[in-house]
Symmetry: C2
Subunit: 435 residues, 2 copies
């Protein structure tokens, strides 16, 4: 109870920035958690556009979708927090049963810790004294459970020296990789060198399991092979006495192939005999983008999942895009061209440009209408988007466009706060990000 | 004196974020302005990498370079603040004689105002009630001088209605554009419609001059024609009695073609007779990227400027890249490939990937050494960069890479604070950004 109160206080120490973008006109500094009390509505032009907006009902839908998927398979979820870097959203996920939060860097871990997250997988190498110092400081709290991945003897030795000097013990996961991929051990010799290095620091390093990121592969068969390799590798580590800790961890799954990971790994924790695995196993999936989904790369992935995966199919509903951008038409300077007040400063552009979804004319319309299919963004500059229109389309300077996005990660990191709206576009909440 | 004290207080109310990236390990919350007192040095691994770093000596060099260029031509400078969105850097520019700051959105204007900037050109259309409300609130301060561009009668009418209701007067600049370009009036009919609309609100709108952004054009001859058109247009507005205000403004110049703008417009303020222009003229250039420069798109532009422009040539020195990124080698998972802890979350990637410039091994090297020419980034993910190396290169996990960047704008917006370092890589200051 006291912990919850402290956390509540931590969030209630945060104020809406008087100089932030995508907010209403602020003459005072209300609490972020009071954003829903300000009476703002997008359709009434209370908000400075461009703005990034989360749909409360769709967030809730996606939370329940993934909770159902994970629990049906009997797995654990540690959603990748790098997507949103929003502690308020981390807590929405934890409240729906997530086992922990995955993060990518020491400062990200620190931001999550600061807002009460107490179980973290850092799905990345921990390199450099200042980064190790951040983690070391957090580990002073015995309630903080932390795992970091390793793929080289060099890094293991650096970690061993640092945490031995700090008198602390660091939990490691062996990262497996694939040729042509990103990080991760490719061969037996490197794996064995990592294990030898870990063994040099028995009091300071504890190998707790195996980690993969299958998203560097592009084909199902190769991904399934890789996931099975991870299982064999985990059993080998256990058999050879390299695993430490009361429980073992097997973790994988980005946002595109989590169905295959579930199919391959579900039930392993119950299937093995005590001879094969002497300790309980946590099978942890790490998709992060499901929370907001998109209409681009992750919609494509989800279409495949919904077609192929029996659990997803049985749920009938799909993930829904919950993050949209609103922008004004600034200018219609020549026939067929509208310039929107939205740019690379506001939206991801590396996996397709934002897609006009709805159109709203303040003072005339009562609700946004579906945008004509021919409206299409052709380019973005820092603060402008170029939208192709038909010459006789009913579009005017001052109209609002609602745009769907592809790649939520790189949209979130353009916003220090995002508004949460209900289905009538009234602001019901705001969430901060910490990139 | 009291104003300066207030501004000083505003900056001294800002604290380094305990959860920010690219900082040292913070157990307290020092003032941003005290960052130089913390004893941090990059080479001693005091800083969590990745980090974005500004070179104090190069910033100073670039400030002096542009000051000299602008003053030789007898022009005025309102650097585009959208590049850095850093009020501390705005003040460095104002202290070196900048006439004002250019910005792109109402929230950007508000951020600059909050930190004491009192003369602003908003080189973008002001659209939407909440955006107008922000500007209206700032205009309550009679010391705040503000100009915004218009290119449609629709927008002018919206502004006229809003500011008439507010009992305020808004200064406008007519934006000229080019066919196939971005915003801006393309033809006489649209221009005349804008003028008619402005004339409907004589107490609420004041047309003060002409604005262009020549950067949408790609060839010198077309740019010179466009700049001359802007001059003719200004004289026409004066002759037809459409200009208001005690002074007139003629403004253009992004970061790529500011030399042509200087060549075309310098001296106009002294050349015209009272019959041609009844009021003093401010010729305002708006390049923003000169402050940090880069080794990509703006280096290419500057090479042309240094070759062609007599003033730049006479200065002998060039602008210098002042913004770099530092990152660790996280993994060398296979021969020829190093994975760096640096990604799309940390650096611009839309105008070329970052370029490895220096290499430093903590504990062995005393200073960074020039990186081998074959080290090259081939891809970036959200938190990782892929660097191609030779199989036998002397590179290890834990080594630091110093990377040059292309497109400073989209690098700045990945960082809420940037460290300023001296030539020995000691941190001497920090600056915040407000994107």
């Amino acid at each position: 109870m006291s912990k919850e109160n402290n956390l509540q206080k931590r969030f209630e120490s945060r104020l809406l920035s008087p100089v932030g973008k995508g907010l209403g006109d602020l003459t005072s500094q209300p609490l972020v958690t009071d954003a829903g009390l300000l009476g703002w509505n997008l359709l009434r032009e209370d908000i400075s556009l461009p703005v990034a907006v989360l749909s409360e009902s769709r967030l809730q839908h996606n939370l329940q979708w993934m909770k159902s998927f994970i629990s049906t398979y009997g797995l654990k979820l540690a959603p990748h927090g790098k997507t949103t870097m929003s502690p308020a959203l981390f807590h929405r996920q934890l409240e729906e049963g997530a086992w922990g939060i995955t993060l990518a860097t020491a400062p990200q871990v620190q931001a999550a810790y600061e807002f009460g997250v107490r179980r973290v997988i850092m799905a990345n190498q921990l390199v450099g004294k200042a980064n190790m110092a951040i983690v070391s400081r957090l580990l002073q709290n015995p309630d903080f459970e932390f795992y970091v991945i390793v793929d080289s003897a060099t890094n293991v030795t650096q970690l061993g020296e640092f945490f031995a000097a700090a008198g602390q013990r660091l939990n490691l996961l062996l990262e497996l990789g694939v040729a042509g991929g990103r990080t991760g051990v490719r061969d037996v010799a490197t794996r064995d060198a990592v294990l030898v290095a870990v063994a040099q620091y028995p009091k300071s390093l504890a190998l707790c399991g195996v980690e993969v990121y299958e998203g560097v592969l592009k084909e199902e068969a190769a991904i399934r092979d890789f996931l099975r390799l991870a299982v064999r590798e985990l059993l080998t580590l256990e058999a050879s006495g390299h695993l430490q800790g009361k429980r073992a961890i097997l973790t994988g799954a980005g946002s595109a192939w989590f169905d295959l990971v579930a199919e391959e790994w579900a039930g392993l924790d119950k299937a093995w005999s005590g001879d094969q695995m002497a300790r309980p196993l946590d099978i942890v999936l790490r998709p992060g983008c499901y929370l907001t989904h998109d209409v681009g790369i992750y919609k494509a992935a989800e279409t495949r999942i919904h077609t192929n995966n029996p659990v997803a199919r049985a749920m009938q509903t799909s993930l829904l895009p919950a993050l949209q951008l609103w922008a004004y038409v600034l200018s219609i300077p020549e026939p067929g061209l509208a310039i929107l007040g939205l740019g690379k400063r506001d939206a991801a552009f590396d996996a397709g440009l934002p897609i006009p979804a709805f159109h709203f004319r303040p003072g005339r319309d009562t609700a946004p209408a579906v945008a004509p299919a021919e409206w299409k963004l052709t380019a973005m500059m820092d603060q402008h988007a170029f939208m192709q229109i038909a010459t006789d389309d009913d579009l005017a300077v001052g109209d609002m466009l609602v745009l769907d996005i592809s790649h939520p990660c790189l949209t979130f990191d353009k916003w220090r706060q995002l508004l949460v709206v209900n289905d009538k576009f009234a602001v019901v909440d705001a969430v901060e990000t910490f990139f």
